[in-house]
């Protein structure tokens, strides 16, 4: 479903934002702290802190619908993956190195644009016991890089 380039991109130093909405609830979003391909790349998992993402998690629990945007600060390359079968699973502590790698990869991206490292690390600080994973099968994907191709479907995700 996801080609190698996309799988590499969503695991690099990109900002990750996960959103959910449900009837009668406000749409909500939260920063993701890591992205992990699951089931041979058929599904992906987004790690995020439960306390920050409480509203989005509740929306996902109600509908299973999820959208996740990945954006590289220094290039503006942005893509969004959506799914309708999202579920919330426990965070496996063995995945914690993924978070440390994601933060280490994201720091130079943000610092290159003038944001101090201390601020970036505070933004992506967490307590391991607060983490949770949202897992879903990407059913649609879109290129959102600003420019002429913005909004085009990702061919590899169709």
């Amino acid at each position: 479903m996801l080609d190698h380039d996309i799988v590499t991109f969503i695991q690099s130093g990109v900002s990750i934002t996960l959103a959910g909405c449900a009837p009668g609830h406000m749409p909500s979003m939260s920063r993701g702290f890591a992205c992990k391909p699951l089931e041979n790349g058929e599904r992906i998992g987004i790690v995020l802190p439960r306390t920050q993402a409480a509203e989005a998690l509740e929306n996902i629990r109600l509908t299973g619908r999820v959208a996740v945007a990945f954006s590289q600060p220094t290039t503006n390359r942005t893509l969004q993956l959506k799914g309708t079968d999202a579920c919330i699973v426990a965070f496996d502590p063995r995945d914690e190195p993924l978070i440390r790698k994601h933060v280490d990869d994201f720091v130079p991206e943000a610092v290159a644009l003038g944001t101090p490292e201390e601020m970036v690390r505070a933004l992506l600080s967490y307590r391991a016991e607060d983490l949770v994973m949202v897992s879903f099968t990407p059913s649609t994907g879109f290129d959102q890089t600003p420019g002429p191709k913005a909004g085009h479907p990702l061919t590899a995700a169709q």
């Binding site: 934002t17 996960l18 959103a19 959910g20 909405c21 449900a22 009837p23 406000m26 749409p27 909500s28 979003m29 939260s30 920063r31 802190p49 306390t51 920050q52 509203e55 929306n59 509908t63 619908r65 999820v66 959208a67 996740v68 945007a69 954006s71 503006n76 942005t78 969004q80 959506k82 309708t84 003038g114 944001t115 201390e118 601020m119 970036v120 690390r121 505070a122 933004l123 992506l124 600080s125 967490y126 879109f142 959102q144 600003p146 420019g147 913005a150 909004g151």
Partner: protein, 445 residues
């Protein structure tokens, strides 16, 4: 509302891009990144509309809207609930956002791609802090409120316009810590602004002109709205913009072009603040810096109040000078004449005046100087009044809307910069004197 929008405005600067979430009719969420959120007031923000995308389609279909904003100073995050109200495609807010977006686009390599189509106005229905890590913000470079208080105290000691304008630039430099700045006055009749004072440039540029509507300064004047840019952008590099604008409008002859505009060729941060009093534009304060994001919302607030204070004081001093009763001015003893003769040439077509073949000034200030020098050489007159100039048919002032006192300050400064033996000095309210220390030859061309 648990958090007031005016206490978290640094989150709106776009340093950490905001996120917007909407959902479509089928209930599918959509995430997008925001290049710009503009503070309107505590209940309203404006988002830049640049592309017709899924977000916009969802918003126009009535989707609830949520923003996630992040402070670049503290790493604190806030979620805002918004409701779309309307889109503006012209006016002060639109121009403020267009200018700011131009800087953001240049900074992020998106020049030509980020283009403002509209300012989408939203009502802010709630702001909640997001739990998470944070750091202490660094102390601000300047305490704007204290700078304002000290400046107000200094301006209140002035007894005339000349003193007021000098103190105003002193305050901007010393109290607000601004290293590169200009104070420009509005010429209503000619639709332009002329530089009356500047700091931080190799050449003062006093007397240089910018048409209303051209570049950052001209747009600020036209819209009577503060405009602020945080990153270097060629689109608002005003020197070039002004030249292009002049050529396009065929105004090159009408505007002062012999005196180059001061200004940093590579300014990163720029801010222009209109000076308005009694609903009239009196001038513009322009500030710039080589540093990115040098001016924020707090500096803008403090300087808008400073400009309002300055505007009221300018109006007061101008009216007081105009109201001075005409009485025979006392002639002072003429200064000793010495040194080589100075040739003063006047071109009636545009009232330009040259001193020994070097350009000095044109327009109303040129006409004033020519009248003064003629009265001096023919009748030995050295004392003059503002009221006398107003009724002098040789000068053709456009009316009381013209700031005569400011023009006299301009003329005084141009003469002082050249230092060729002609000076004018304020003697009392509404009165001034001419001092000539070299033999003059007047030539009418």
């Amino acid at each position: 509302m648990s958090v007031r929008l005016d206490t978290i405005r640094e989150c709106l600067e776009g340093i950490i891009p905001g996120h917007i979430v909407t959902c479509d009719a089928a209930g599918m969420p959509n995430v997008a990144f925001l290049s710009q959120v503009e503070y309107v007031d505590n209940e309203h923000v404006a988002l830049s509309y640049q592309f017709f995308n899924t977000t916009r389609r969802n918003v126009l279909a009535g989707s609830p809207v949520r923003l996630l904003l992040t402070s670049h100073l503290t790493a604190r995050q806030y979620r805002l609930a918004l409701r779309y109200l309307r889109t503006e495609t012209a006016g002060p807010l639109f121009e403020r956002m267009k200018a700011k977006l131009s800087g953001i686009a240049a900074h992020s390599g998106m020049t030509g791609i980020f283009r403002l189509l509209g300012a989408d106005i939203y009502r802010v229905e709630g702001i909640v802090p997001v739990p998470g890590g944070s750091i202490s913000p660094p102390p601000p470079a300047v305490n704007g409120l204290n700078a304002l208080r000290r400046s107000t105290e200094r301006l209140s000691t002035c007894i005339n316009l000349e003193c007021l304008l000098e103190k105003a630039v002193d305050c901007l430099e010393e109290e607000f810590g601004i290293q590169h700045l200009m104070l420009l006055m509005h010429d209503e009749a000619r639709g332009c602004l002329y530089t009356l004072a500047s700091r931080g440039y190799a050449h003062s540029g006093i007397g240089s002109e910018i048409p209303v509507g051209s570049g950052l300064i001209g747009i600020c004047a036209r819209e009577r709205s503060p405009i602020r840019i945080g990153f270097m952008t060629n689109e608002y590099a005003y020197g070039r913009t002004v030249r292009d604008g002049l050529a396009a409008d065929g105004q090159l002859d009408a505007l002062e072009t012999a005196i180059p505009l001061p200004g940093l060729p590579n300014a990163a941060s720029q801010m222009a603040i209109p000076i308005v009093a009694a609903n009239r534009l009196l001038g513009v304060i322009y500030l710039e810096s080589l540093a990115d994001l040098h001016f924020g919302y707090d500096e803008e607030d403090a300087l808008v109040v400073f400009a309002a204070q300055l505007g009221l004081a300018m109006q007061h001093h101008q009216l007081a000078d105009e109201a001075t009763e005409e009485s025979p001015p006392a002639e002072h003893a003429p200064a000793p004449i010495q040194g080589p003769p100075l040739t003063v040439r006047h071109f009636a077509a545009n009232d330009s005046v040259f001193l020994d073949d070097d350009y000095l000034i044109k327009g109303v200030a040129g006409a004033i100087l020519w009248a003064l020098l003629n009265d001096y050489t023919r009748r030995g007159r050295t004392s003059f009044t503002n009221k006398g100039l107003r009724v002098d048919s040789r000068i053709r002032l456009p009316g009381t809307s013209d700031n005569l006192e400011a023009r006299l300050v301009l003329l005084q400064r141009r003469l002082a910069e050249r230092d060729l033996g002609i000076a004018i000095d304020k003697t009392s309210r509404g009165r001034f004197s001419l001092t000539v220390t070299r033999p003059l030859t007047l030539l009418e061309s």
